[in-house]
């Protein structure tokens, strides 16, 4: 088999849900309403989505809530029937989209393993052969004969995951798996994913955890309101997602600002760099961040420039401008850099806002909300926006 063989091919996949305004589930309602035209709301959950997944690929799906991610996964798993479009799958696909489906709290862990494995498609013999391995992996040796209802949610997920990885399908579908479970177990899970990848298994992975998506996926699909927005590199997809996400919620604000815009002077490019000038989006905690901007048609006169850093949830962290710093943009320059030295921003995602304004601070020439994104990576602990060095003492 070739390495880059396409294992799933989806063409123009469309799914329409018919949602009756009042769902008739008794016969009286059916009879009473027999002459009334049924009022059905059609919801296009997926709108001509096409993509390909290669064999052995780790394929991520991201998108905001209600974007159609789970519907897509359910159609791939053949739980839902597509309304239109074509799906070709060259291999067996796991029937499973969620961990621990069919787990029964009244049964022991042992019984649940056998039931869950059966749902996964394992025979009794296969389950018996793997039983030890499953329990060992889940680290629940002492609790095998305990009822599941006495397990913590983390323990249940561990058990569920340990069974799920035993699935014999070529393609695994996973929906929001690692939401629970401690860091150590998550690490273990990723170890398993790597092994599965080595075995040339294809994994289709839906998650809101953008960090995981970036770290593990080979290809990421971004979907929004049922429409495919982007397929490609994980970093790009995550950034597109962040952008679309924030643009969406700030459209009104953007329109307002557009009206205020004057002149042709515009910020046309913005990105983050490290100290040596390499474009970068993920920084270590405390690392210098250079924000770089390109401006076109910079007009003569006293023109000011400002940049601010915001946390993804909108919290204004820090901002500077040439006016405050008593600076002047040199005429004829079109490139501006601001170097933030050893910022103590806590790990997380941030965005930049940049603006050009006239000599009087009010005259806005260009305003670009969320013009660039960056991430801080690291182990600095503490809550809030910024890290403050501290010492404890007791008396």
């Amino acid at each position: 088999m070739k390495n880059n063989e396409t294992i799933i091919k989806v063409e123009n996949l469309t799914k329409v849900f018919k949602l009756p305004h009042e769902r008739y589930s008794t016969m009286k309602q059916h009879f009473v309403n027999i002459f009334k035209p049924k009022s059905v709301e059609k919801l296009k959950a997926l709108d001509s989505v096409s993509f390909k997944v290669k064999k052995g690929e780790f394929f991520g799906i991201i998108g905001p809530n209600g974007s159609g991610k789970s519907t897509l996964l359910k159609i791939l798993a053949q739980i839902y029937q597509p309304t239109a479009g074509k799906i070709e799958v060259n291999g067996s696909i796991s029937p499973f989209i969620e961990l621990g489906v069919g787990f029964n709290p009244e049964l022991s862990a042992r019984d649940n393993v056998f039931l869950n494995a059966a749902i996964l498609g394992l025979s009794k013999k296969e389950t018996e052969e793997r039983f030890e391995e499953i329990i060992k992996f889940s680290e629940l040796e002492e609790f095998v004969d305990q009822k599941l209802k006495n397990f913590s949610s983390g323990m249940q997920v561990r058990l569920a995951f340990s069974i799920a990885v035993q699935a014999q399908a070529d393609i695994l579908l996973v929906d929001e798996v690692l939401a629970v479970g401690d860091a150590a177990f998550q690490q273990k899970c990723f170890g398993v994913f790597q092994q599965l990848k080595k075995k040339k298994k294809t994994i289709i992975f839906v998650s809101h955890d953008l960090g995981t998506i970036e770290d593990f996926c080979d290809q990421v699909l971004l979907i929004n309101k049922g429409k495919l927005k982007f397929v490609g590199s994980p970093q790009q997809a995550v950034l597109e997602y962040l952008k679309s996400n924030t643009i969406e919620s700030n459209r009104q604000k953007a329109e307002e600002i557009a009206q205020r815009k004057e002149g042709k002077t515009k910020i046309i490019k913005a990105l983050c760099q490290d100290a040596s000038g390499n474009t970068k989006e993920i920084f270590e905690f405390g690392e210098d961040i250079v924000t770089y901007f390109e401006i076109k048609n910079l007009e003569p006169g006293q023109i000011n420039f400002g940049v601010s850093i915001h946390r993804l949830d909108g919290v204004y962290c820090f901002g500077v401008n040439t006016f405050l710093d008593d600076q002047k943009i040199k005429m004829g320059s079109s490139k501006i850099s601001v170097r933030f030295k050893s910022p103590k921003l806590l790990p997380g995602s941030y965005y930049l806002v940049a603006a050009i304004f006239g000599d009087k601070k009010e005259r806005m020439i260009d305003f670009q909300d969320r013009i660039a994104y960056f991430k801080i990576h690291g182990t600095a602990t503490g809550g809030g926006v910024t890290y403050i060095d501290h010492d404890w003492s007791y008396s």
Binding site: S25, E98, V101, L107, G121, K124
Partner: protein
């Protein structure tokens, strides 16, 4: 998935249901033996001691017990079968597997209880000094017919119930009607002659009487002796039609279950 694994899934689901039925109770599986015995005790006192239905019927206690045990199977299977698809909605929305397994497993669970109950029937037969004859072998195809018919009814009900929740009530009433329209607690000899033929067209009545004929007494009146050939073939036609209709409507609706329920 391979076919053998669907078999495992069916078995696992049936066993799980069976285990859950008795989970948390002290007597556990013994309940499946005690329950029909208690039910039998009540009916026996009322209908044999007070109303004297059993007069002139050889081995009336065993006759009654066998009827109750078979009825319990039919009742439990069809009621649970009807609700099974809707109550497994969570599974259906998250896993792709042949939905018919759910109904099969439910019937299988009841069959397990039924087989346990039969042990009691055999014990009663032993104490009633009934000497089994070769006709006991015919009991197996009779049970097979009961299971197939029950499966057909369960499939129809399960499908209808996904669309109309009314069937939960309709079937409750239906079961009451069937219970009294079938010679379970009373012997056929008490039924006025003009009604007997109509009564025996009902596959449940036919199956119950056949079972009594095969196990207890060759004197038991059956559909085959009461209704002339080929008219009596209509009973088998009903059974066959029920199963076919059941499979067809169930399989036709099954692919939309995930979205509908």
């Amino acid at each position: 998935m391979r076919k053998t694994n669907y078999l495992n899934l069916t078995l696992q689901m049936a066993l799980t249901d069976f285990k859950l039925k008795y989970a948390g109770s002290i007597l556990g599986y013994i309940w499946s033996l005690v329950k029909p015995l208690l039910f039998f005790g009540v009916l026996y006192v009322v209908f044999s001691v007070f109303f004297r239905f059993g007069k002139g019927v050889p081995n009336y206690p065993v006759y009654l017990l066998l009827g109750i045990v078979m009825w319990s199977f039919f009742l439990e299977s069809t009621l649970n079968g009807m609700h099974s698809v809707v109550s497994r909605g969570d599974l259906i929305r998250k896993v792709n597997f042949p939905k018919i397994i759910i109904v099969l497993a439910t019937v299988l669970t009841s069959l397990l209880t039924f087989l346990l109950n039969l042990i009691i029937v055999f014990i009663f037969m032993f104490f009633s000094k009934i000497v089994p004859s070769a006709t006991i072998l015919l009991f197996i195809p009779i049970i097979a017919e009961l299971v197939i018919f029950t499966l057909g009814v369960s499939l129809i009900l399960a499908t209808l119930y996904t669309k109309f929740r009314d069937f939960s009530h309709i079937w409750e009433v239906g079961l009451q009607v069937l219970f009294y329209a079938t010679p379970i607690i009373y012997p056929l000899s008490l039924v006025p002659a003009k009604f007997v033929k109509f009564m025996m067209v009902n596959p449940i009545a036919q199956i119950f009487q056949d079972a009594r004929w095969a196990l207890i007494s060759r004197d038991t009146a059956t559909s085959w002796s009461l209704i002339s050939y080929p008219k009596n073939l209509i009973i088998l036609a009903i059974v066959l039609a029920t199963v076919l209709v059941g499979f067809i409507i169930f399989l036709k609706s099954a692919k939309n279950f995930a979205e509908e329920i």
